[in-house]
Symmetry: C2
């Protein structure tokens, strides 16, 4: 990849340094000011709705001209409903508790020294995202509330939409006394800027890429700064022998059909052998009727061969690869398992540590599943579709982490902070072996 | 760097896979078994004391033959006191609360869905360390207690010592029913193995390098897996205008002199201008008498010129670089500042976000300092030497993080775990728009 020109480097570093220079002001800003900024931004977005839609229209036109996919254009679109959604996020975040300065715990050592853990912002956060312009508002609102500075790097297809939204956020900041330079938008679409940003160790504290797996791999490969990653969601539901089948039909249907294109939809369904004959035909009927293609193992195929299914039903033999695949579509891989242990082993092997669940009324099986399955979100008797900052009650989310350090699952306000230690003494020292006290007469 | 031979790659991957294969057993192991393993290891170390010292003697001899520095040889040494120290660590860790499975919080959503955060192990942890063989026991004991698998990669100078300690730990594991393969020791001293381990994304969950800044930079540059880093400790104490000077003499002396070679010793001393004339001459006398070389700014030089100092006192003019330097020696950079703001700005510019403190009886200044200074450990009226897992009451420590994600400061048991979400429903779904219920009659 070609080196970045000097002017571009300067432009970029200038933005990051501006963001960084606000950190000391940010740490001392009150929750009141931050909330006022969020609520003012909500007002301004409401008032400047037409302008936003106009900017968005230009992005959509360009996207169409460039032949971008329908899915991208759909994600790009800002209609009144989505604008209302952004307004709601700003108000919700204003209503949530401010984690900054919170002392999670404090204890006293035998010598009277007090040790506490106080939550502080992460610092400068880089977010790299694609198409959806509402991410601009979601990410910025979470950073405003947690006194973090943010570098916004949206997709070039959403340039006009992101630009006006950032302008509005900065306007709200100016009006309410929040440092507007804490919100930086990288306008230049040159991809090399991203790689340059990812090298800024000490200037940017963490990078959060949101997008497809290839974007995230590339970010992770090139970063010299910490990255919080979300690779993919290969989610599985296991219908236990002891499942309440009425609940299971609804939960599996919801987890697959309600919105198949998202990471918390399931890709795999495991069914206990003892209830497969009863459960599978009906479940397959419902799924097939909703247009879901089934890719099933031999045992399931045997059962479904003689089952009543809708005319257009598609049932294929599953390959090994199918179980690893994030379909993001109306496709579901199905497997019959002998027991709970096999289900857990399957998830360990094929899953992506995102969201996995058990449907069972058996206490011990549920307890074992919840404790043993090593995923960011582990469910009992609920749809995996709940893995979402808003659904969990975190307000918005900065992303969903499939990493295993710092945060797992939806990244909310608290996860944008980290405890530092504060230590309160009264002259505490470890051991001076009597000196310098005994030298006091000499001077 | 030359590619690793196929056999070496296989050897390495074999070890990591063995460690990884224990994770499912580890997650279900009881605290009781883990404590028994730790206490049994303590017993075995006590019983096999002579063997350990003999193995260590061979390392020391080789180190001397290779002409390694006195400092390295001192760190390498295992005498009875240090062996007692390892035994104490094992017992202390056994006595600490097990964080695994702990539900930090649980809340109920408006629809009755219950969301909780349950602490789980990180998985497979790679620790890369130098010379000190007690790290083997400290790191392994923390991992045993937190149900993590550990890959130990010690320095080749400590090979025999590390080997026998690992053997003892594994023996304790075997005897008590803890999976011994969860403790893996990489014996082969080839440096390329480290780089290979750092590429094992998905197999190793986090790497923790302990050692000099160059080792840590190299690890961080080469890693494809998350790394928790400790760069350096450029720590500062600020003696405020409102300091109790009697406390200040002791604290500054302790923070510089008690053990200058460690990361939580101070390298910089800031003194408020209004008390400099009274405080500095006496402080300088004490420090100089203990052999500390002072590198001071113009104002301090002016004051010290006419001060009574011990005969062998060394007072030099400070350069800009001195304030950035981690001396790890009896050297202290000194600067007079006009006010609290200047002190905070100094720490922001020159410090390494490790441990910094204020000495002051002024409530508002202390509050402001504690809230504003962005370091892993921020002190009021105590020596920075307390930044240590044991001193903080965390038992042992896996290292001290100067990173800003996952953990800041001493990394104890809790920091070797991470909360996952557990979600308890009773058939909860997001919205199925009435189906498949209405299709139930069809099948």
């Amino acid at each position: 990849m070609a080196e970045l020109e000097k002017e571009l480097k300067e432009y970029l570093k200038g933005k990051v340094l501006k963001a960084r220079s606000t950190l000391r002001e940010l740490i001392n800003i009150t929750t009141e000011v931050k909330n006022r900024t969020l609520l003012r931004a909500a007002e301004l977005i409401d008032r400047r709705r037409e302008e936003i839609k106009e900017a968005n229209r230009r992005d959509i036109e360009t996207a169409k001209r460039m032949g971008l996919s329908k899915a991208v254009i759909d994600r790009l679109l800002l209609n009144d409903k989505r604008i209302d959604g952004m307004i709601k996020v700003l108000k919700d975040v204003a209503n949530l508790e401010d984690p900054v300065g919170k002392i999670d715990k404090m204890w006293t050592r035998p010598d009277g020294l007090k040790i506490g853990k106080m939550r502080v912002p992460l610092g400068v956060i880089l977010i790299i995202y694609e198409s959806r312009p509402n991410v601009t508002v979601e990410a910025a609102s979470l950073c405003i509330k947690t006194s973090n500075a943010i570098i916004l790097r949206g997709g070039k297809e959403a340039l006009n939409s992101n630009k006006i939204l950032t302008e509005i956020l900065k306007e709200a900041a100016r009006e309410t006394g929040f440092p507007q330079e804490a919100i930086q938008f990288i306008e230049n679409p040159d991809r090399r800027l991203v790689w340059e940003l990812l090298k800024m160790e000490g200037l940017i504290d963490v990078a959060i890429p949101r997008g497809g797996e290839s974007l995230i791999r590339a970010v992770s490969e090139n970063a010299k700064i910490p990255v919080i990653k979300h690779y993919k969601g290969v989610c599985t539901l296991f219908v236990d022998k002891y499942a309440d089948l009425e609940k299971a039909y609804d939960i599996v249907f919801n987890a697959k059909v309600q919105r198949p294109s998202v990471c918390n939809a399931i890709e795999n369904l495991l069914v206990h052998k003892d209830i497969a004959e009863e459960f599978l035909p009906k479940m397959a009927y419902f799924l097939a009727k909703a247009g879901v293609e089934l890719r099933v193992d031999e045992g399931a195929m045997e059962i479904l061969k003689s089952a009543k299914l809708p005319e257009n039903a598609v049932v294929k033999a599953a390959t090994e690869e199918d179980y690893y695949e994030e379909f993001l579509d109306l496709i579901l891989a199905v497997k019959i398992v002998d027991n709970l242990g096999e289900a857990i082993a399957f998830i360990e092997k094929y899953g992506s540590k995102h969201s996995d669940g058990i449907i069972s009324e058996n206490y011990s099986n549920v307890k074992k599943f919840l404790e043993t399955v090593d995923s960011a979100a582990v469910y009992a008797n609920a749809s995996t579709r709940f893995t979402d900052g808003n659904e969990f009650g975190l307000g918005a989310e900065m992303g969903i982490s499939t990493d295993k350090i710092h945060v797992r699952g939806p990244m909310g306000l608290e996860d944008l902070t980290i405890p530092k230690y504060i230590i309160l003494g009264e002259g505490h020292i470890r051991d001076n072996f009597g000196v310098p006290k005994e030298w006091k007469e000499e001077v």
